[in-house]
């Protein structure tokens, strides 16, 4: 094998690739744009920001009772919250019509609608002999698209109703013990309502571990880069089939150049292109991360380890790409097969999901995807862990698939 000629073929092919605007758009622009989309799409999805201004609508249909209108109290609790924290959390509005309130929820304009029935006060009369025998039903209509906000509103409603019910139950119990207390009902109700709860809840959040905040680019930049690396390698190998179909491979063989030299040059060029593609994407998405205000470098700080992972990931995909293309009978089939298999690997490897961490998106099934091992190796590295296992697995994938693929492929490009 003539190393000089191999290097010449590599240089010519690399230059050709990186001066082709269409190829650049496919191999660099596409993953970059998708990383940007992922970055912006998930920049606010998984965060640590407390809930606030939850839109709620309250419909008070309560006719009231002789001495009070409990529905009005409940409505006021939400529309004019008694404390600042609740005022920040809930943004409630009163409505007359229950159907309109439900429609607000249906349209996603409100996280929940609280509909107070017209006999609310009447039924809640603690002195009625039937108090507690029949349930008083409030309607809580929530937006399924607000899986966190709606339960929070529900919990606040439940807390208020428990306090409220407690006063009425207390009055009922007191009068049952001593009927003369009925004359002091207002005083007792006030005392009970103002009584301080004997249980206080304090919340402490641990700070023992490093704070785990989701940095979308640290997950999606590697997954998109690795996903498109597969395509880059497949396109490179398909190019060799095209050379044969166009007759340029045959012309090269007419020259005093051995078959192994040509194949090594073309395969080498594909590998170098893959490595360069990854490096350029690392630089571009790293800069993007800095511009988007990422709290830590998108690709970590261990440059030698990063380069090692780049070389290993590219090698693994070189093998995978060679094997896929070698299974096809012609160029068209090779393109369809490589696209299909690489998309499947992308799905299994989590290229289309927002897992938010380095876990396998589809459990053990993800382990068969080199995209998972490749992108996960980068994510591990960014998190400060050297991905030794990933490197071993990727090298294994690379060696095995390249070995089988090259054997089959050599037979295919026999001229």
């Amino acid at each position: 094998m003539d190393i000089g000629k191999v290097l010449l073929i590599i240089r010519l092919n690399v230059v050709r690739w990186f001066t082709d605007p269409t190829g650049l758009a496919f191999l660099l622009l596409a993953p970059f744009i998708l990383t940007v989309i992922f970055g912006f799409a998930f920049s606010g999805a998984v965060n640590d920001v407390p809930l606030k201004d939850i839109p709620v609508v309250v419909v008070n249909q309560d006719r009231g009772a002789q001495f009070s209108n409990f529905g009005a109290q409940l409505e006021a609790f939400f529309t004019q919250p008694p404390d600042e924290s609740l005022a920040k959390l809930i943004k409630a509005e009163s409505l007359e019509d229950a159907a309109e309130a439900r429609e607000r929820v249906q349209r996603g304009k409100a996280a929940a609608a609280i509909i107070i029935p017209e006999d609310f006060s009447e039924r809640l009369n603690a002195f009625s002999p039937t108090f507690g025998e029949q349930k008083i039903t409030l309607e809580f209509y929530s937006d399924a698209a607000s899986p966190i906000s709606a339960p929070v509103v529900n919990a606040i409603l439940r807390e208020f109703l428990n306090r409220f019910t407690n006063v009425n139950i207390a009055l009922s119990a007191a009068v049952a013990q001593n009927p003369l207390l009925l004359a002091r009902a207002a005083e007792i109700a006030e005392r009970v309502a103002n009584a301080e709860l004997p249980i206080a809840l304090s919340v402490t959040q641990g700070a023992q571990a490093r704070r785990v905040l989701f940095e979308p680019l640290q997950v999606f930049a590697p997954s998109m880069s690795v996903f498109f690396l597969g395509f880059a390698v497949a396109v490179g190998i398909v190019q060799i089939i095209m050379e044969k179909e166009n007759g340029t491979l045959q012309r090269m063989l007419v020259s005093p150049t051995t078959r192994s030299t040509i194949l090594a040059g073309l395969m080498g060029a594909t590998y170098i292109n893959g490595v360069l593609q990854l490096i350029l994407l690392i630089i571009a998405t790293g800069a993007l991360g800095a511009l988007m205000g990422s709290q830590s470098p998108v690709w970590g700080t261990d440059v030698p380890a990063l380069l090692l992972v780049v070389l290993v990931v590219a090698a693994a995909f070189m093998g995978v790409g060679t094997l896929i293309v070698s299974l096809a009978k012609n160029r068209v089939q090779a393109q369809a097969l490589s696209s299909a298999i690489l998309v499947v690997f992308g799905v299994l490897g989590g290229a289309f999901f927002a897992t938010g961490d380095a876990s396998a998106p589809l459990g053990p099934v993800s382990y068969i995807s080199p995209t998972f091992w490749g992108s996960n190796a980068f994510v591990q590295l960014t998190g400060g862990t050297f991905p030794a296992l990933h490197i071993v697995v990727l090298l294994g994938i690379g060696i095995v698939t390249f070995g089988i693929g090259l054997r089959l492929f050599s037979q295919r490009v026999e001229v």
């Binding site: 640590d48 008083i136 209509y141 698209a145 700070a207």
Partner: protein, 416 residues
């Protein structure tokens, strides 16, 4: 018309005779949609564990029972949290994963370990003299410990439900104490009132009837109801934009030139090719809808679904023509045919619901991608039981996209 249909069906049959078409138009879309559907339906909301440690006294047991009741509530078929009673391990289900408790140095150490490893999302500790302190009128502090990394929103939810339990349990104690003080009653009076209150609380007089705005109890934008139409739309775009490659290849092979030299008008050739590609795209969507039906997607109004499928496919075909008008070579056509769907799909909410993205991404998606409008229509039909009338605006906007793409395509496209 017959010539147009001849060209259309010939093209459709030629494409269907290739194994690659079957893989890229039917097999891969189904696989991707199913995988994304499985992923999105299992990861959106997960039940969290909340550990409770107490002294086993009556009020503590009642606290656990009430909190367990609150935690059991389901939001769109998913339980928010499950209470794991570390002081009474036998009362818990397998979900709590308390297997290592017997081997642990102490229950406290076991709880701390669960918090550190994030196996549990919160731990509530009640003092061992919980009942005695409350009955003696003393104030009791309970602590909710949350590991780092648990989102504030989840903490707010657990805090809310715990406060609801406190309002009921503590409220009864406080009320009985207040009444005792008001009437200068003795401890026996307090106990009688308190017992009476507990009896009344047994049949909580107020009931909250909960309902959600969704059909089938599934969170909108998750599961197969989102992934099947979303991924279907993306692959319909792939199929439609392949029209550019088809023209480029036919030009290179000179088959297009031969067709032009026949007495068939160029407009008929173009119409035939467009209808052929439209039919292939319709077939792709049809297979996706069929697979979705098999795996249990409730599509809602059939007329509405059919209208969205047809209008979107029309729009995708027009986009295919616009792509063919721009691409000059087979390579360019292949690149654009890959780039356009891959960008429009995530922007339009095909991979995930746009509801979870920032506002500007939602606006951008609706401006750039017709998928955003078709997905909105599918969501209304599948999750909110909407009727045909409610998706008319979406159909009109899809028509507008079609007009723009088609207008551009017809203006710039050259068969030669």
């Amino acid at each position: 018309m017959r010539r147009i249909l001849d060209i259309a069906f010939t093209q459709l049959l030629v494409q269907l005779s290739e194994r690659g078409t079957w893989i890229t138009s039917f097999v891969v879309p189904v696989f991707v949609a199913v995988m994304i559907g499985i992923f999105s339906s299992t990861t959106t909301i997960q039940t969290q564990r909340i550990d409770v440690l107490h002294g086993g006294d009556p009020l503590a047991l009642q606290f656990v029972a009430l909190l367990r009741q609150e935690g059991a509530k389901k939001t769109v078929n998913v339980q928010l949290f499950e209470v794991c009673d570390l002081s009474a391990p036998q009362t818990n289900g397998t979900f709590c994963q308390l297997e290592g408790l017997e081997r642990a140095e102490s229950v406290e150490a076991f709880m701390s370990q669960r918090l550190e490893s994030r196996l549990t999302s919160g731990a509530i500790t009640l003092p061992s003299d919980f009942s005695a302190a409350l009955n003696n009128g003393q104030k009791v502090n309970i602590e909710l410990r949350v590991p780092s990394g648990v989102p504030q929103q989840f903490i707010q939810t657990v805090q809310g439900y715990t406060n609801a339990v406190i309002a009921r349990l503590g409220g009864a104690v406080a009320a009985a104490q207040a009444i005792k003080t008001a009437v200068s009653g003795d401890q026996a009076f307090y106990e009688r009132v308190y017992a009476q209150m507990l009896a009344k609380w047994e049949t909580d007089p107020i009931e909250i009837r909960e309902a959600t705005n969704t059909v089938g109890g599934q969170l909108p934008g998750t599961g197969f109801g989102h992934s099947i139409p979303g991924i279907g739309s993306m692959f319909v775009l792939f199929s439609a934009t392949a029209l550019a490659q088809l023209f480029a290849t036919e030009r290179r092979n000179n088959t297009l030139q031969r067709l032009i030299s026949t007495p068939v008008p160029r407009s008929h050739i173009l119409a035939g090719k467009l209808i052929g590609q439209f039919l292939l795209c319709l077939l792709t969507f049809g297979v996706m809808i069929a697979v979705g039906t098999l795996i249990g997607v409730s599509w809602g109004d059939p007329l509405g679904i059919a209208a969205v499928v047809v209008f979107f496919t029309l729009c995708a075909t027009a986009l295919g023509l616009a792509t063919a008008a721009v691409a000059r070579t087979a390579n360019q056509a292949a690149t654009l045919g890959f780039l356009i769907p891959m960008i429009m799909a995530p922007l339009g909410g095909a991979w995930w619901t746009l509801d979870i993205t920032p506002q500007f991404m939602q606006v951008l998606g609706h401006v750039v991608s017709p998928i955003a409008w078709s997905q909105d229509a599918f969501t209304k039909l599948i999750y909110y039981n909407a009727g045909f009338a409610e998706i008319v605006p979406n159909l009109l906007i899809l028509l507008l996209f079609t007009a723009v793409f088609f207008g551009f395509g017809v203006w710039r496209f050259r068969l030669e």
